[in-house]
Assembly symmetry: D2
Homo-oligomer: 394 residues x 4
Amino acid sequence: MKVTDKQAEHVLGALDRFEIELPSWGFSDSGTRFGQFKQAAAARTTEEKLHDAGCVHRLTGAAPSIAMHVDWDFPPTIDVEQVKREAAHHQVRIGAINPNYFQDQRYKLGSFCSPDADARELAMQHSLRSIEIGASTGSAALSVWLADGTNYPGQDSIYRRKKLLEAAFGRIHDEMAKRWSGAALLLEYKPFEPAFYHTDIGDWGMAASFARKAGPNAKVLVDTGHHLQGQNIEHIVAFPLDEGLLGGFHFNDRKYADDDLTLGSIDPYAVFRIFDQIAQFEHDRGQPAGSAPIAYMVDQSHNLKPKLEAMVQTVCEAQALFARAHLVDRDALERAQRAGDIVAAETTLRRAFFADVSGLLADWRRRRHLPEDPLTALRESGLIGRLGRERNNR
Amino acid sequence: MKVTDKQAEHVLGALDRFEIELPSWGFSDSGTRFGQFKQAAAARTTEEKLHDAGCVHRLTGAAPSIAMHVDWDFPPTIDVEQVKREAAHHQVRIGAINPNYFQDQRYKLGSFCSPDADARELAMQHSLRSIEIGASTGSAALSVWLADGTNYPGQDSIYRRKKLLEAAFGRIHDEMAKRWSGAALLLEYKPFEPAFYHTDIGDWGMAASFARKAGPNAKVLVDTGHHLQGQNIEHIVAFPLDEGLLGGFHFNDRKYADDDLTLGSIDPYAVFRIFDQIAQFEHDRGQPAGSAPIAYMVDQSHNLKPKLEAMVQTVCEAQALFARAHLVDRDALERAQRAGDIVAAETTLRRAFFADVSGLLADWRRRRHLPEDPLTALRESGLIGRLGRERNNR
Amino acid sequence: MKVTDKQAEHVLGALDRFEIELPSWGFSDSGTRFGQFKQAAAARTTEEKLHDAGCVHRLTGAAPSIAMHVDWDFPPTIDVEQVKREAAHHQVRIGAINPNYFQDQRYKLGSFCSPDADARELAMQHSLRSIEIGASTGSAALSVWLADGTNYPGQDSIYRRKKLLEAAFGRIHDEMAKRWSGAALLLEYKPFEPAFYHTDIGDWGMAASFARKAGPNAKVLVDTGHHLQGQNIEHIVAFPLDEGLLGGFHFNDRKYADDDLTLGSIDPYAVFRIFDQIAQFEHDRGQPAGSAPIAYMVDQSHNLKPKLEAMVQTVCEAQALFARAHLVDRDALERAQRAGDIVAAETTLRRAFFADVSGLLADWRRRRHLPEDPLTALRESGLIGRLGRERNNR
Amino acid sequence: MKVTDKQAEHVLGALDRFEIELPSWGFSDSGTRFGQFKQAAAARTTEEKLHDAGCVHRLTGAAPSIAMHVDWDFPPTIDVEQVKREAAHHQVRIGAINPNYFQDQRYKLGSFCSPDADARELAMQHSLRSIEIGASTGSAALSVWLADGTNYPGQDSIYRRKKLLEAAFGRIHDEMAKRWSGAALLLEYKPFEPAFYHTDIGDWGMAASFARKAGPNAKVLVDTGHHLQGQNIEHIVAFPLDEGLLGGFHFNDRKYADDDLTLGSIDPYAVFRIFDQIAQFEHDRGQPAGSAPIAYMVDQSHNLKPKLEAMVQTVCEAQALFARAHLVDRDALERAQRAGDIVAAETTLRRAFFADVSGLLADWRRRRHLPEDPLTALRESGLIGRLGRERNNR
């Protein structure tokens, strides 16, 4: 399709409002249950992660904040003020605070849902500490993913666990309201893994139910990899969005289970359709493109791709698919839809998906004094090789 | 496991309260999109369906009512009073009323969600007529399954369709409240088929959202075949049950998609676990076993099995799995769960699943002067052969 | 990406060799098990289907042949010579011959695998007639899809059925060798539907095993919709291709089961990857692009899209995705692969996928005096409206 | 069902021939990618694993051998003769030898399929060492599972990798024939994980193809958890069994992906149907029940269940489901199948599945002076507590 000047301005404006948060844990070594392949340049410390996030932002201009993992980035001994200074130094904002409810040995049977009262208390204390960190760092959200669930039929009472979880989220919401005003409580769902029989927040409907009971600042967090095969994710995005219950995303792609591949690497059209639903929502409500209060966050596991490359690639891919979604001719689409003209409606969508947006993105980057092709710029900089020699993370 | 006298009484009492509704359409010819294989004894008329349902109830004592399909069982020309007399004659109750929102050519793009106002009006008029039939027949529920959805990305606006559907259900709920007091509005969800891109009520979370907005008599209907692969159905049953939102079931089994095989034929342990969750819920609330106000309905497609055999088999199988669920030692289970003793908890469940309940069921039937083995009794009666010769449905 | 002149010539040459066969049944009414929505312009007779296929070929220049369904297009009373004359008149070739092994009431328990000897004999006689038609029409292939399978565990012996099927395919292969020399026997697999417990040719491995035993002209036919969720189809294409066992495709797209949506409508990148594997294979063997002896056939169900539009759209989409696959820089790809440079290898592939090929395709069409945008040309011609008035298929 | 004396003898004879191999790695700590929960009694050394396997065999009488993992059980420094002495001391046989092709950092891009020649050479040297160990320990099989695959489209050439793998298996087969005569080369397939785009041996059809090319002693290994959702596993068992290509099993259960839960814990009827297909095969060929040369091996990950309990439970569950499969009335089944009597055929199967086999198994154990209920015996022995105190594996 030919992009008109008006469309170009629309997309550039939308891109101005589109920010993607990077996860600190995406810069350090990760793996599968079968092992970990080490990368020499992988970040080893909180400061190295902040440094790397800063590099990605300097290259892309679209990733100003970094999600933090409490246990890994704010271990009990760390000086939070020091982390804030380092973040400022690397010119990144502290993003969502992610408590860790799955690694302590006491979480064997769950955290808030565990039959073990000590595990539940540990989870609550950890939450309170996370809230404190969130409040003191100026973060905007507490992002909660639980590994809670069971592995065998009969292992535990679904009903008791549900009650325990409702109570816990209610308390966390209240504590946040008191000490960390304005912050969102994001509740993530997942159908399975690491629990293989039932997961206490198993789907968006359950997350929405917990969110409604917790209070007005609780919202649903959609991890694109946390769905069963075939699930129409854009529908699951549109539905809570229309209900005022969509809080944000953990972006990644998958072919099978929660594969944590880089965004759009398996099914780019599906990612485009998610952005399209959000763009349609903003259009319907007369809101500026890209203005819906949704936290776009990356959550991938870069086992094989070099971590910095994977991040830059992801930010660029997200921008490209987002830009395409904002090229959909919404008036033509609505006309075709109302006329029941399926082929015309579909063609309108696909034309935008296959539009060449490289020029548009290059424009946007030039205006911001960014490299036109951030991935090539990263490769040419030799940064990863240099970090590998310095860090020598083996 | 050895069944104690106390357990036996518990199960017999639960069985007394356990009724399964048969679908009228389960007695007539059905097929796949590739064609239909005719059965000589298949019912051809509403009265023949009532007759056949009566036969199943006389053999099993557990299937006193029959769900009716408005277009097929109450065509515009039919005399509703006559149907009521026939039902009385065959000693069956008129069960849930099932409107048909998918066969008229005007429903090509949907019913309540169609961009075509005529289609929406047709659906509403059909609903009002269904409500009238429901009220006049003493039925207890309007059971709504929509084929609404789209086949291609972009085909229609998910948001507009959602709004249209919310309005329609609101109006139906109000009309029911006025004219058919006490009846339940059951909302069925389905992930796909016949719509292959998105379905307007795609999962239980959406059905629950529509039900909450429609009003207090609206509930979620779980069709066991309407789930994606892997979905933990008993969790999806327990969650809305705990919220007061579970209205009932359409029972069948499946290996792949919505295969509509007979209940428990593919995964009997999974059906047992559904009954177990309901039994646990009643136990937790101190309610009599089998007393939760849930409509248990069959919805299967007997393409190959003789229809009457399939129905009798299903009722007996449902009773057997239900009985097993009521044999679970709930105190032992809770003790094991609270102790985190996974193997003991699981063993408690499996012991009940593999319990020999044939003696118990034979007892229950003897007390009611029913044949001890209804399927064998049906076979020995020669009924299907006789009906085949009479009806000669070719 | 910028397309060089050399690349353009490569793609144009490949397009010259790329032909897509249309299915006669894609022009007449079809539906789901819930019903059929009629299209006024749908073809009602064999001649109308030949006419419509001719229209698609005149618009696209890439669909010179039409697959025929024996029962529907060559009913026992038809004059085969007359069909050949009509085909010639509409300037289309008779393509693959598709026997029908699923509609006769005797196929209730299967065709070649049925425990009923009459059903098996019927299937063999039908096959012999199909072979005759194939030989006399100059078709190049017998394309076999069986609905054979079972619906319930225990229903029949998997072993006996396997033996029966091996014998049947052996005989068909021999008869073809005698009377229809050079023709391929294409064996299609499918995991489920209409059989819902087991399907006798359930996956590519089984099809390959039957093909090997039948003889050298038997090959595997891949229907893109006949896979379980998550299956890597391009791998399943590459593997038998490398073994000399890939015979052709039935093209369509799906999100859930065998949805029979138009090609590439749900996941265009996946279709691209299939073409990429074939292009790579030809490249590796030094064969001209597009020359592998693979039958590309469409098999879709156009329930909602106007049939002629759906066909033209599909041919154009197939060409576009095929063209993109031939834009992959194979040398750069191999270099990156051998260096283990995952991001560079992936980028090479994606650059081709997102390449703007509209100019290339317009060129190719201009050279052949075809409309540059066949779908728009079809719409502007008013053909569908005219056919609707003439045929008035209600 | 009532079990006749003749049936009982048949089952007892079959049980005499039914042996299940335990995996050494099932006794030591394992986990998910999110972490590991430690068990105090988990085995820490090769000898402790041999000890624990011996305990399970003493309790169940059905698990005389233990599969070994080369890297974990035979590290380069170990004295193989010493391991053999320890095995003898604990009265267990050395079972299948499992090389490890996934943990070394050089396997980042695969083992035999890697573009890196060093990785391929490492894999071959490791194989040769594994063959040596196999030959010297009297093991009967080399059991090969590869993690080889790719994570992103384009990452590597499927064709080159296929060729490399064919060559490797050919060489391994030859080396085995030379040095370890009579041993089987078992090739395991898996659709995904840890490779998330394509896996080089992705399904049984690929494993069968590699096996055929490698040579007569190469067979397919079915891991029950290595299938896509919905796949009919008993069909996949029956098909290669009939072709002489089925080598054995890795037993476990799953609800979602490769969950590695204990056998039959999610879908016991499905496991029963696998045993039923094998029993039917033996029956059809007139072979003694339980005599087919199939290696039944356990491969589970006991993250939460106490490891010794999980093993004893699994052996007992396998025996119970195996015994039920041998209770199927094969004559009645065949009669019903040939008559097309679906309900009777299915009922014959289900009657055996739900048969109470506890008496039969108790008989079998008494005759062998084993505890009638091995799990209870294990619990009452206090063994796990004692081992926990001794090993104190934290």
